[in-house]
């Protein structure tokens, strides 16, 4: 059981790290601002999400887990709205984008 959980953690955290890699590569390599924004949201959602998921078996139940999940939810909420606002700003400054 312990081993299975460890493997789960390793897989999920590695997956999360991969999405941070993807987010950075996207941010650096994509051509225009809006597609870069799209790459950024992948790291926000999946990167942090998978890291959180992977750490869940390792923290105290239930309060530690609750805090861990709320970190992710806060980033979801504020990240989603912040990227919306940024995208609107881009569109207003350059309607062709």
């Amino acid at each position: 059981m312990r081993l299975a959980l460890d493997i789960f953690t390793a897989l999920a955290v590695a997956g999360g790290a991969f999405f941070f890699l993807a987010g950075t590569v996207g941010l650096l390599r994509f051509r225009d601002t809006l597609t870069r924004l799209h790459a950024l949201t992948k790291a926000d959602n999946l990167g942090l999400g998978l890291v959180t998921l992977g750490l869940l078996p390792l923290v105290a139940w239930p309060l530690g887990a609750l805090k861990l999940i709320s970190v992710w939810l806060f980033v979801q909420l504020s990240g989603a709205i912040a990227t919306q606002l940024i995208a609107r700003l881009v569109r207003r400054e350059d309607p062709q984008a």
């Binding site: 390793a10 941070f20 870069r36 970190v71 990240g79 609107r88």
Partner: protein, 95 residues
Amino acid sequence: MVSFLLAAAIFILAMVALGLFRVFCGPTDVDRMMAVQLLGTGGSAVLLLLAVAVEIPAIVDVALMLALLAAFAAVTFVTSASGSPAAAEDATDSR
């Protein structure tokens, strides 16, 4: 397991730090803000990994703080760049 979590933390830190090159090349201020947004998320992930790796649960609170204030910089930026909150909303669905 501890080494693995720390290695993951180093990897994520390095990744989001690489993202800071966007601040360097821009081209617009929006791109620069995006790099900081990524660093905020990555910083939260690194702190969560550290909290578990060094077994100090209170570090999760620091991540909580970062997550709560993550949008703060972006919101200030958007409102100040557009002059007023109303102007920020003008762009709503102008397709």
